[in-house]
């Protein structure tokens, strides 16, 4: 590694825990460590800390605390929402609808349900990664019990029309779930005034600790438990609560949703400078995702003739942390299922780069990336047997 400070532009993969969040957590590791289910004083303190975190999460979603259930992360929330609703409503129907560009926590859960005898429709997306409500109307039947479409995509940042999709879903008497793991803490995600029935979020995507998450379950939704055992989370999610983690997530969501608009504007400005800089300096690129309906921090660009992993390794050698596809699927050799779903040819999808920015990024860093990335791309293009016309 060269003598260069770290430029972290992979905030969609994970974020550092905010120092104030660490500070909020520490007392609940050592001093106030009681089991929230016990009745003595130190345990009651633990219980109050959890209630206060629950109120903070509820506030950020504009809903009531008794509709928030803590989980071990976005993956568990997605699994719970989808399996829980599918099994609890199996008598009414065995059909589930989702989209082709969901995170694996949703897609692999749906594939598991197919093995259990459910039928699943995977809605297509357009070139920008948008689900068309007309497609939903075409697929939904009276056997459909659940529609699950993400709030915003983790790879290309596209923001889906979930409000509209949710009302169509309700017209047909099914439940609507949205994986809002990438959206919460990065844009306003109110559930009030919408017909969203279930919503997943994950703490480590907004400077909370990893291994924390929540599921919003609208009152009255028929859903099975996924973890059975003790009476925690009002009998809905068993297991001794991740006390410090929950306290941390509460603090993190409070920090993240404070001044959300202004932070979003700053991030968007840096991101846009990056995009135009890259497009200016490097030929043969394609911007992936929607030009305006996109998360403020997300940038996803494909570079023809080169492959993503080698790009990441070279960027890492310059101290730049980035991603190709989602981190969860690295190690996989398949090109991104999201990019393929937008109609991109596999060979180009292989050369895609995702940079995801946050408030902590600086103009300096943007400039550094704009100095470094062209070198990296041309070095790899020089090595590539494809597209001699490039560089």
């Amino acid at each position: 590694m060269e003598d260069q400070k770290l430029v972290y532009m992979d905030h969609a993969a994970t974020t550092a825990v905010h120092p104030e969040v660490v500070k909020a957590m520490i007392p609940y590791l050592h001093n106030h460590f009681g089991n929230p289910s016990s009745i003595y004083s130190i345990a009651r303190e633990a219980k109050e800390a959890i209630d206060s975190a629950r109120a903070k999460v509820a506030l950020s979603l504009k809903t009531k605390p008794d509709e928030i259930f803590f989980t071990s992360g976005g993956t568990e929330s997605d699994n719970w929402a989808i399996k829980g609703v599918a099994f609890a409503n199996r008598r009414r129907g065995d059909h589930i609808i989702t989209s082709k560009i969901e995170h694996h926590a949703v897609l692999h859960t749906c594939q598991y349900l197919e093995k259990q005898g459910f039928s699943v429709t995977y809605l297509p997306v357009d070139q920008y990664g948008l689900v068309d409500p007309v497609e939903l109307e075409r697929s939904i039947t009276d056997r459909t019990t659940l529609v699950s479409v993400m709030y915003a995509n983790n790879e290309i940042g596209t923001i889906e029309p979930v409000k509209e999709l949710a009302s169509i879903t309700h017209e047909y008497g099914a439940y609507f779930h949205t994986d809002a793991v990438q959206a919460v803490g990065h844009m306003p995600v109110p559930v009030d005034g919408t017909e969203i029935d279930l919503l997943s979020l994950s703490g480590h995507k907004f400077n909370g600790p990893k291994g924390t998450g929540a599921l919003y379950i609208r009152k009255g939704v028929r859903i099975d438990n996924i973890l059975h055992g003790g009476a925690q989370e009002r009998n809905r999610r068993a297991g001794t609560e991740n006390l410090a983690g929950i306290v941390g997530m509460g603090k993190a969501i409070e920090l993240a949703t404070t001044g959300l608009e202004e932070k979003g504007a700053r991030i968007r400005a840096m991101r846009d400078r990056l995009i135009s800089g890259i497009q200016e300096l490097i030929p043969h690129t394609r911007l992936n995702g929607h030009p305006s309906k996109r998360l403020p921090g997300n940038l996803n660009i494909s570079f023809e003739f080169i492959e993503g992993e080698s790009m990441l390794l070279l960027l890492d050698s310059f101290g730049i942390c980035a991603s190709t596809g989602s981190a969860c699927t690295s190690g996989s050799l398949e090109p991104s299922h999201v990019l393929l779903a937008t109609g991109m040819p596999a060979e180009i999808a292989h050369g895609s780069l995702r940079l995801t920015l946050d408030v902590e990024n600086t103009d300096e860093e943007v400039k550094y990336v704009l100095r470094t990335l062209p070198k990296v791309v041309s070095r790899l293009r020089d090595m590539s047997p494809l597209g001699k016309q490039a560089t």
Binding site: E307, S310, L314, S332, L333, A346, M383, S384, P385
Partner: protein, 148 residues
């Protein structure tokens, strides 16, 4: 995840480029799968006097190309033919299981280049052996192996 040697050959790849008027060329892989390797050979008196490559692919693919070309330079065609994917992987101090196919690609690239040289001389092609990793039934992770 990569060994030091892999990283060294990725960061400072040996033998990158093309050979003008090569005596044999091999091109293996598939852009859809995310890797293409092109091997150029200069052959003198049944001996590989120069080898170069161009590769579209991941870190392991580039390092495998670099190492493979290093290993065959100076070898007789018979000896070069015997440079297996395992030998390439071992010289790299190991590859993650999911990346072993990159070393297979390198072996195949060399074989194609040698057979291309033989074809140009109207010699019958030498026969490919089954690749080690297919024998071992190890899941290399590549789509081709998985789906077929």
């Amino acid at each position: 995840m990569y060994s030091k040697t892999v990283m060294d050959h990725f960061m400072n790849p040996r033998n990158v480029g093309e050979i003008e008027n090569p005596d044999g060329v091999g091109e293996v892989g598939n852009p859809v799968c995310g890797d293409i390797m092109k091997i150029f050979l200069k052959i003198d008196d049944n001996r590989i006097t120069d080898a170069k490559f161009k590769t579209f692919g991941c870190g392991a693919a580039i390092a495998s190309s670099s190492m493979a070309t290093e290993l065959i330079k100076g070898k007789s065609l018979e000896d070069a033919w015997e440079v297996t994917n395992k030998a390439v992987a071992e010289a790299l101090e190991g590859l993650p299981p999911i990346k072993m196919h990159c070393s297979v690609l390198a072996e195949e690239g060399i074989h194609q280049a040698i057979n291309d040289y033989r074809a140009r001389r109207n010699l019958a092609p030498w026969e490919e052996k089954a690749h080690a990793h297919h024998d071992e039934k190890e899941d290399c992770g590549c789509t081709t192996c998985n789906t077929g």
